[in-house]
């Protein structure tokens, strides 16, 4: 799966969140980073080139900090120019591709709800992107939200690294798929580092536990009368 990460950030190089995300995805071969503010500081987009990149991608990610409940200007300029030119009557066909969002917020995620400081949920605030995906026949994925990155501890950063890598390389957010994805990563590392017994041992245990769990869930589904367990 080819993933194109389109980043909108006016000061990308000095952003702690963006640096962390870029480093987290640096070893993923099928992920291409595309920082709009660096490529097009004057917002004059090379439409033909961008269209080529979009056509080559299976998944398109818009990655940006939330500025006044929207993306920075570079993403809006890109959308205005790339999606439909003045000469075109019809939109390009993006059927079969997915659109994901990676959005960082300076406010705690818990505040984005009715009755709290931000009043509205992030699903509501990000609705224009959902509408865009709908219009372009893109499959809209649940956004990956990163709130107050500078306040996260060591374990939360590790979890974000894995979550981000999974978001860029897999469409599923089911627990079982996350486990199998991680077991595979550890198994790959184990084959390159046979002197580290922990890697293969943990990969094998994760897989065996998940097989057992899947069996139990299937048994429960049968006992319930054929329904499936999420």
């Amino acid at each position: 799966m080819q993933t194109l990460v389109i980043v909108a950030h006016p000061d990308f190089d000095n952003s702690g969140t963006q640096n962390f995300l870029r480093a987290s995805s640096a070893h993923l071969s099928q992920v291409q980073y595309h920082v709009l503010d660096q490529l097009y500081p004057d917002y004059q987009v090379d439409v033909a080139r961008e269209r080529q990149l979009l056509q080559a991608a299976d998944q398109i990610i818009f990655q940006f900090p939330l500025y006044w409940y929207s993306a920075p200007a570079s993403l809006k300029a890109w959308l205005d120019q790339v999606l439909q030119t003045a000469q075109e009557e019809r939109l390009p066909d993006y059927q079969g591709k997915a659109l994901g969002l990676v959005v960082s917020t300076g406010v705690a995620a818990a505040q984005f709800t009715a009755g709290r400081s931000e009043q509205f949920t992030l699903s509501e605030i990000l609705r224009p992107y959902q509408a865009l995906a709908h219009k372009l026949h893109l499959t809209y994925r649940a956004p990956l939200i990163i709130s107050q990155f500078s306040h996260t501890n060591d374990l939360q950063k590790a979890q974000l690294l894995v979550q981000y890598q999974q978001y860029l390389t897999s469409f599923s957010d089911h627990f079982a798929d996350q486990v199998r994805w991680l077991a595979q990563r550890l198994q790959d590392l184990a084959s390159r580092n046979p002197e580290e017994p922990a890697l293969a041992a943990v990969a094998a245990t994760l897989t065996a536990n998940q097989d057992h769990l899947d069996d139990l869930n299937q048994t429960i589904a049968m006992m319930k009368g054929g329904g499936s367990i999420g």
């Binding site: 690294l161 550890l186 041992a201 994760l206 429960i220």
Partner: protein, 56 residues
């Protein structure tokens, strides 16, 4: 989680030079805990459903 596996994980996290590999292992340790909890719940549910009072 078995003590042996826990020790292997702790050793690996302590000495792994690469941040990314260390992070993968930290998350794996958390997933093992989550699996243990889910296994306990699922086993409990199978037991509960097997214990059918209508068959007493």
């Amino acid at each position: 989680m078995a003590d042996g596996l826990q020790n292997l994980i702790a050793d690996y996290i302590k000495k792994a030079p690469d941040y990314e590999n260390r992070a993968l292992m930290q998350v794996a340790a958390e997933l093992l805990k989550a699996q243990a909890q889910r296994l306990e719940q699922a086993e409990g549910e199978v037991d509960g459903r097997t214990w059918d009072h209508r068959k007493w």
